[in-house]
Each structure stands twice: as structure tokens, then as C-alpha cells.
């Protein structure tokens, strides 16, 4: 399974995943046994080519029956040393590991969800856990890593955005105002989406359709 610049980058944004070489998921083996046990733990290692380092923005993947995910990153520390740090611990992908919920869903991990800083990362290790014995295989697929800061909207803010009527403050703000950075990114995102909508056609139907002779069975071919 390779993670080289995979397909499916979201349209409308100018970002491309980082090229990286990932080795296939290897299961944890307990030494000394003749029987191959199914330990329920697998590891996927990912390194950037030519020993490069990158700042991570987002990790996107498709789950295949993995229940819990931990992510460790290797960072270039001071004085040339490299340290492994856990940035995500036991993230739940399948809330009920014996059943299908979340088993084949797509997931995104963002940098703000990480426990530690994910800048200057040289390698990423995904630790997959599936405690339920009913599944034959488990892994994650279509792994893509997006680096920091690739998109920037070039147009100006339309004037009506600055006149947005304030919403009623929700009661549980605990006396703090929301982070202005967060609010501005949210508003930016909404503006981008409204621009896209305006450019696109409305989805509502015109409301007329003529069932004419094209439904005559003799005219239709069958495959």
C-alpha cells in the first residue's frame, strides 16, 4: 500500500498531498510461537522521501475495520537528534468494534486535534488496534497527508460580510468570547462556499418533465 500522491484531493482547493512512501501494515508478532497469532495490533510506518521534513496540516484516510488509532511522529529535535512523540492516542474510529459502525468511513485528522506540535516531522507511525476477533483483516487505506498552508483566497472580503447581524450569544460561552482566529476562518470558509454556490446552478427543479414516446419499450435496448 503506497501513499504516493493519491487521487481524490478535494476540488476547489489548491492542495496536493505530500508524496511519501508507506510500508504495508505489519501485525505485531509475539516472538517464539509456531502459530501465527492474530494480535489485533498493526503498525504502518511512513517516511518522507529523501529524509525531508514537513509541517502537517491534515491526515486523510479511509478506514477498513480498524477500531482505534494512535499516531506517533518523529520530529527533528535540537542538535540533530530525532524523537518519537505521540500526537494522537487511541482515537476511536469504530465506537462499537464488533459491529459495522464507522468500519469503512473516511476520516480526517487535523493539526489542532493533535496532542503535540506536528511541525518538522520526518516520519509518521500509525498504530492500529482492533480488539474484536470477528474481523479477518483490518487496516487503513488511501492515506494522504496534507502539509500546512497551501491555500489562500485571493479575493477581497465582500462588504456585506462585515455587516453580518450578530447571533444571540449561546448561553454556555462561560463568559469567554470565541477565538477571533477561529471565527474568521469559519467566516472565510462560509464566504468561499457562498461564492461557489452563486457560481453554480440552483439545485431546485423547474418542475416539468414530459414523458414522451421515448419510454416505449420497443425503442429501448436492454443490456
Amino acid at each position: 500500500m503506497s501513499g504516493v500522491a493519491g487521487p481524490g484531493a478535494p476540488s476547489g482547493t489548491a492542495r496536493a498531498p505530500l508524496p511519501c512512501a508507506a510500508r504495508a501494515a505489519t501485525a505485531l508478532q509475539l516472538g517464539g510461537g509456531a502459530d501465527v497469532a492474530r494480535p489485533g495490533v498493526a503498525v504502518i510506518d511512513l517516511r518522507f522521501p529523501r529524509g525531508g521534513a514537513a509541517d502537517l496540516q491534515e491526515i486523510v484516510f479511509r478506514n477498513f475495520y480498524t477500531a482505534f488509532l494512535s499516531v506517533r511522529v518523529q520530529r527533528a529535535g535540537a542538535e540533530g537528534s530525532r524523537k518519537w512523540v505521540t500526537c494522537l492516542r487511541d482515537y476511536c474510529l469504530m465506537p462499537s468494534p464488533h459491529t459495522e459502525q464507522g468500519s469503512q468511513d473516511y476520516f480526517s485528522l487535523f493539526r489542532h486535534q493533535m496532542l503535540c506540535d506536528v511541525d518538522q516531522v520526518t516520519a509518521v507511525r500509525f498504530i492500529l488496534r482492533q480488539p474484536s476477533p470477528v474481523w479477518v483483516h483490518f487496516t487503513i487505506e488511501e492515506l494522504q497527508i496534507y502539509p500546512l498552508n497551501q491555500k489562500s483566497p485571493e479575493k477581497d472580503f465582500p462588504s456585506w460580510l462585515s455587516q453580518l447581524t450578530p447571533l444571540e450569544q449561546p448561553a454556555n460561552l462561560h463568559g469567554e468570547l470565541p477565538d477571533p482566529e477561529k471565527v474568521s476562518t469559519e467566516v472565510q470558509q462560509m464566504w468561499v462556499l457562498t461564492e461557489v454556490i452563486r457560481a453554480r446552478q440552483a439545485a431546485a427543479r423547474i418542475g416539468r418533465f414530459d414523458v414522451d414516446g421515448c419510454y416505449d419499450i420497443n425503442l429501448l435496448s436492454y443490456m
Binding site: 474481523w135 479477518v136 431546485a204 418542475g207
Partner: protein
Amino acid sequence: MVDPESGLSLTIARIVQRLQGSSLHSQLERQARVSLHKPEIKLESLKEDIKEFLKTSGWEKKLQNAVYSELNVFPSPCHPAAPPEHMKEPLAYMRKAQRPVNEQKELLNKWNEMGTDEPDLSLFRPVYAPKDFLEVLMNLRNPNYENGEQPSFRNHLGLIQVPLKVKDIPELKEDFSELGLNIGQLGIDDSAQVPPEFFENEHVRVGQKVLTEQDSAAAQQYVRQGCPTALRADLWALILNISNQPEDVLYYEQLKSNVIQHDLLVDSLIYKDVKLTASNDDYYFVFEDYLYQVLLCFSRDTSVLEHFSYSSATPPKSYIRGKLGIEEYAVFYPPNGVIPFHGFSMYVAPLCFLYHEPSKLYQIFREMYVRFFFRLHSISSHPSGIVSLCLLFETLLQTHLPQLFYHLREIGAQPLRISFKWMVRAFSGYLATDQLLLLWDRILGYNSLEILAVLAAAVFAFRAVNLMEVTSLAAAEAVLADLSTLKVMPLLQIFLFATVT
């Protein structure tokens, strides 16, 4: 999973896109323009005044209802990297299991060979009866699931072998909390012995208030305790956001003219189905004409194709002869993409008691189909899909009536074989009509079909004593043949809230 902030923006964008260009949008614009003549609208605070006007004149409520309706019907947006078929059905092996499409193609072949002008109805075998569909569901397997040959904890004891997540009774109690023992229900607390001052009068008063407010969300919450018969038609129309505007009536008339001008071969299937099911039913035979009107128009209605974006099924496509593979010459056959199966007309029949005007009846049925009924005959992992309902039924029965389940299994009468036909038809034709409508009140109120599985389990619990004495599948079917005397709400309440586990 989508980042929660962008998820909200995506939902907003999607709803705006759907409502933009709709008749509601143009009506709102027209109202705003008209309001400019009013004295209370001042130029300095134009935006605020117009918004205030729309709020007081009830137009904001209509917009709220439309947004609420969109939120209810369409699933939350998927992850941006997910392809569109993932939104229809996330599990790959279920997508591959959509068998009815193949059978539909076979049927197209067969029809072409027959070539009779006046179709002899005996030649048209129903495309599938519930029994065939159950066989398909029984054979669904996840290739990644260890289904060993030896019986073990991995094998389900029932017929469904797919490990979907289903709710247990504590979760169901929480979800259906309004059906609790200490909350008034229509179907229980409006019986002759209970004085109406205790519950019924107040409930009717609240219902009338909800109708004057014209609030969809409030109506949906209200019907969880049942609908008074006099208010039911209007409340259901409010929940489904059907307003029967002139353009809707016009659309229906257009469909009717299509019926008169062009024949479709599915019409024969519809005729046969109505004759075999609804016409033989004591309650519904009087509505035979209505059923034809609704179903013949339904099969020509291409707006139904929109629901395939969130349904796991795909409509069968055909091409004009000689233009195989060229998209401009592709048509969906039938035009609405839905091939009626045996018993399909029973989805419409109970609605005939509520709506007498054909265009409104048609719209209500169409909305109920694209929200609920399509899940009962397509293979999907959705919690309200038929596969999950079957698994929920079997799990409830195993957990709470283990002796009964074991006994029935031993005599070769797997309980799902009996209850499947009830659930596929949403109990239509099996329960008395007033009880059925009380049940469908709750389907609308909770926006989910899980109550069908709970009721099926409750029926088995009710007749458990008799069922323990039977010794064959036929005898078990005989015990459960007649449900017309059952009262739905007491059964549900006892099973959920009063059974000692």
C-alpha cells in the same frame, strides 16, 4: 468524520443551494418587494425591517419549515474525500449486493419478448414478493467477517448474519422516551374508560395551537404522543412540508395527462398488485381508484429520482436502441426509477383515509416514500434500513424472550420468517387502520422506522404463551396470522417500559 466547523458550513451551503430557485425563494422575494410599500419599512433600516416583516407575517416560519425538512431528509455531508457512492452506502459489500437491479434487467428482457398489446396479467409474475427479498437478505455476508462453520459467538442465531449496530432496550427507551408509562398517549389514554379531561382535551388543544403556528419541528415533536384524528391530515402535511401550492397541483395534473397519453409496462404490474392486495382487503377496497391514480402517476414522476442520491439503490438505466452507452439517450426505466413489488400499493392505501384530494394524497405519498418507505425494500446499512430492522427485531427477541426464540428456532420457525412481511409493508394491511395510523404517527414523529421492529418483537412477546406450544412453522404462522385486534400503543409501552428483564 468531517471537521465540525466546516461540516456546519457545508450543510448550510447545501441547504441554500437546494432552496435557491425554489418556489419558496421566489415567494419570499415577492413578499419582500411587496413589503416595501408598507409604512413601517424605513430605508435607513431596510434589512432589519424587512426581516421583521417576514417574521411577523409567518414567512420566516415557512423558511424554517423548509430548512427543517431538508435537514431531516438528507444525510449530513460526508467527508470531502468520500466518493458519492459512499454517501449512498458506506459499506462496499452492501453496495455490491443490490440484486434487484439484475432482476430488473431480466424483466426488461422478458417484456421485450412478450410483445402482447393487451397484457395478460397472469404472465406477469410480481418482480419480487417479500419472501424472495428475505432470501437475498439472508445471504448477505461481509467477506471480512469470520463466519466460521462451527456455531460460535460470531454466528448470529437468527437469519441475518451481518454485524450491524442495533440498539438495545435501554437505548430504545431513551430514544422513544415520549412513549413512557408516565406520559399520555393517544391509543391508550383516549380510550372510553379514561375521562377526556385527563389528557385528550389538552392534547387536542395543543395540536390546534401547533397547527395555527405552522411549525414543522413542533408538529414532529407533538405527534410522538399521537395525532387526534381530526388534525392528523394537516399535521402530517405540516411535518412533511406539503403545502399543496397551485404549482404542485399543476405538476400532478401534468403527471395525470402523461398517464392518459402514454402507457408504461409497469402499469400492468401496478394493476396486478392493486387487484391482488388492496382490492381484497376489507378496509381498503373502496380506494381502488385512488390507488391507481396515485401509483400510475408515481411511476412517471422523475422528481423521485432525487432520492437516489441518499438511497443505496440505483435506478435501472436503459438506452434508446442503437445508442447504447451514449448518455444523452439514456432513460431511467420506469421514469421514477422504482419498480413496484408485490404489496407496494399497501403503502398508499392507509393514506386514502386521510386525504381525499388526489393531488394532496399524491404529494403526501411521494414524500413519505422518499423519506421512509424506500428504505424498506433496498439493501443498506442505514439504521432504518430493512436489514437493520430485521437484525434489531431478532436481537430484541433473543435478548428478551430467549426461550421463545430458541423454541421457534428448534421447530424450524425462525421468527423473522413471520415478521418480515409485516415490517416490509410497515404493518399496512395487517393492523386495523386506526392502529396503523397511530403507528405511522410515531414513524413521522421520530423520523425513523425502528419502531416497526420494536412492534414486531412486542407482538411476539404478547403471543409468547401460545407460540411456546406450537410445533411447526405453519402453526406459528397461524397464531400470528390475525393482528387486526391488536392495540399498538399498549404493546409498545409494555415491551419497552414494563418488561422485567
